[in-house]
């Protein structure tokens, strides 16, 4: 199959869906800038015009509300936030309006909007340019949250999100943008709510989200050389969460490590840990381990940044700690 980078896979999803469905449009800051949203918006303005590729003033609240309102009356907007941090201005339209709309009107209206927030970690960008806030959205009933980690899923989940009749928060990590992978030229969906086993194994289950999947695979390959067999699960959707895939793996390995790019407290890793404790406790042979960001704002200096973001080495250490613990 053809190789494509992650960001161009998103770009292709947008091209194909805008072509396929006239109710799809892209709105947000920087969609006509050559660098603001990476190359994800490449060629869209030229092809679909300023009426459906709408670059906007810096007004996250109103612009997100605009996308939500357009969705309520039958459009399928994709609203992009080049930095998810700025999307905090838009919590009302996302959480109060979009998430609740279908339920609070008794199912008589729906909000088929994609709320796309780009995570921009690293690069000494400090606390307000680098946050991973997926857990915040996953907490809210009525929102779906997806986090693709491969080019194939980046396209397939964007298409699925656009086709979904509910608000979908689509979160992608810039660290994944140059990652190449096989991507079909067709319009295809990756089912929201379905995770995938990236590497089969029997010794320990390693569940990861977004960029942490990349680090998890690296770690698992290194561990493989030492004879440790890690099963890597890419969650893909944080909500709904593929519980069955998780439980089946725990049954097999009896051990769980979660690698998530968000903070620890009340985060996705905490949610996964409690799901497993509630539903698959009898299969656990060891305590659950979480690899997350520390509960600390992002520092700028590279000297601190290196310690801040967990990488393959932290994952390897955790796996060894868990396996070396002589648990049954």
């Amino acid at each position: 199959m053809r190789q494509l980078t992650y960001s161009l896979a998103i770009n292709e999803a947008l091209h194909q869906m805008m072509d396929y469905d006239p109710s799809v449009f892209l709105i947000g800051q920087g969609v006509k800038s050559p660098w603001y949203v990476g190359n994800t918006a490449k060629g869209l303005l030229e092809k679909f015009g300023a009426e459906r590729v709408i670059d906007t003033p810096v007004s996250e609240n109103a612009i997100t509300g605009t996308a939500v309102g357009a969705a309520i009356v039958g459009m399928r907007p994709v609203v992009v936030h080049p930095r998810i941090d700025f999307m905090m201005y838009a919590m009302d339209p996302v959480i109060n309006e979009a998430a609740n709309w279908h339920y609070m009107f008794g199912g008589r209206a729906s909000v088929p909007v994609v709320i796309w927030g780009i995570i921009n970690r690293g690069g000494e960008q400090a606390a307000q340019h680098s946050q991973s806030l997926h857990a915040l959205f996953a907490h809210v009933p009525g929102l779906k949250v997806v986090m693709p980690s491969t080019a194939y899923d980046a396209k397939g989940l964007m298409i699925a999100a656009i086709k979904d009749n509910n608000p979908v928060v689509y979160l992608d990590d810039r660290w994944l943008y140059n990652l190449e992978g096989e991507v079909s030229k067709k319009i295809y969906s990756v089912q929201i709510g379905k995770g995938i086993i990236r590497k089969e194994g029997k010794d320990v289950t390693l569940v990861a989200t977004s960029y942490m999947v990349v680090e998890s695979i690296k770690a698992s390959e290194e561990l493989e050389r030492e004879g440790v067999n890690v099963e890597v699960i890419d969650l893909r959707s944080v909500k709904p969460l593929d519980e069955n895939l998780l439980f089946a793996s725990i049954k097999k390995t009896g051990k769980l490590i979660i690698a998530d790019g968000g903070w620890k407290t009340c985060g996705v890793a905490a949610e996964i840990a409690s799901l497993v404790a509630e539903n698959a406790f009898e299969f656990l042979k060891a305590p659950i381990k979480r690899i997350t960001l520390p509960d600390v704002p992002t520092p700028a200096s590279r000297a601190l940044e290196d310690f801040y973001y967990p990488k393959a080495r932290e994952i390897i250490l955790s796996v060894k700690e868990l396996l070396g613990g002589n648990y049954l």
Binding site: G65, V68, G69, A70, P93, M104, F105, N165
Partner: protein, 328 residues
């Protein structure tokens, strides 16, 4: 020159709203109605004059105080009253209550109580109409309290920038819940806030239904011709409390407004004012006015009976409709 039939329609719409609103007081005081109810009594001329200048296809977004908007736009009274009783037959199937009213087939897109929260949604509906090249107009109703929210200014800017077919309707009743306008704004000049954006702006007596209709009709005409947006401030007064008959549901006099002020505004009651006009100009006689009132009373009584007889939502359906199941 407005036809006798149309003038009668203006009157009967206002009377229906008033009688419907006042009918809630007894069941609120008896505890039969528990959800917060923000009565529209005293402001009927605005919903009536604005909505009767619209066609069924035009969109309306409302607030916490939207019974009048819903009824004037053609929403079904039984659905409204059943919703307030929390019944399955309510317009939002008992999931929304008084603050979440919807009638998609009549263009009442939805109401929500987050102050200024629906302004950006209305903006999105207007953008959708503009992308689809429809001649549809969207009205965003909000109160004077909403002028304290930043999203209003973001929305005014974007609407003006894109020349969207939207009418911003500010119902200035001089109080943001308990806060008198003089304590919220240094100057009492809400209508001027559209001007820096180049939006035509008007201040009109909101208790004079003919003036409301006239300014609204012109605004609708401009928006249909692609010469929107328009901003209108209607001066009015609520004859009841912020929530419930008085200021709170307890029923004791907790209104912070002086009795003298209330008395002054009772003399400007929009329904009575229009009645006088109709009689003085021999458009409708006393007998006809009585008949219109009687019909409204019967309709309201019947709607309460219907609501009380209706079933509550089933507990086993609590988790239904968090997401819309079928995708595009």
């Amino acid at each position: 020159m407005l036809s006798r039939e149309f003038l009668k329609k203006l009157y009967s719409t206002m009377v229906r709203i008033r009688i419907c609103e006042e009918s809630f007081i007894e069941p609120i005081l008896s505890g039969e109605i528990r959800c917060p109810v923000h009565l529209y009594s005293g402001e009927e001329a605005i919903a009536t004059g604005v909505c009767l200048a619209l066609s069924v296809k035009d969109y309306v977004f409302g607030t916490h105080r939207s019974h009048g908007h819903y009824l004037a736009k053609g929403g079904d009274m039984q659905g409204l009253i059943a919703e307030i009783y929390g019944k399955e037959t309510g317009c939002s199937r008992g999931r929304g209550g008084s603050m979440h009213l919807i009638s998609p087939e009549m263009g009442m897109v939805g109401s929500a109580p987050i102050v200024a929260g629906t302004i950006s949604l209305a903006l999105g509906a207007a953008l959708a109409s503009s992308i689809r090249r429809e001649k549809r107009v969207t009205v965003s109703f909000f109160g004077d309290g909403a002028t304290g929210e930043g999203v209003l200014y973001e929305s005014l800017n974007f609407a003006a920038l894109k020349r969207l077919p939207i009418i911003f309707v500010c119902e200035n009743n001089f109080y943001a819940t308990h806060m008198p306008i003089r304590e919220c704004r240094p100057q009492n000049n809400i209508f001027k806030i559209g001007k820096p954006f180049g939006i035509q702006s008007h201040r009109v007596d909101g208790n004079d239904v003919l003036k409301v209709y006239e300014v609204s009709k012109n605004a609708v005409g401009l928006c249909r011709k692609g010469r929107g947006p328009v901003f209108i401030e209607f001066m009015t007064y609520r004859l009841r409390g912020h929530v419930g008959p008085d200021d709170n549901i307890q029923g004791t006099h907790t209104d912070i407004r002086s009795k003298e002020e209330l008395e002054k505004w009772r003399k400007k009651d929009p329904v009575k004012k229009f009645e006088k006009f109709l009689i003085k100009n021999r458009i409708l006689g006393e007998e006809e006015l009585r008949r219109i009132k009687w019909e409204a009373e019967e309709e309201v009584k019947e709607a309460h009976r219907y609501a009380k007889m209706s079933h509550y939502p089933k507990p086993e359906e609590l988790v239904k409709n968090v997401f819309k199941e079928v995708d595009a």
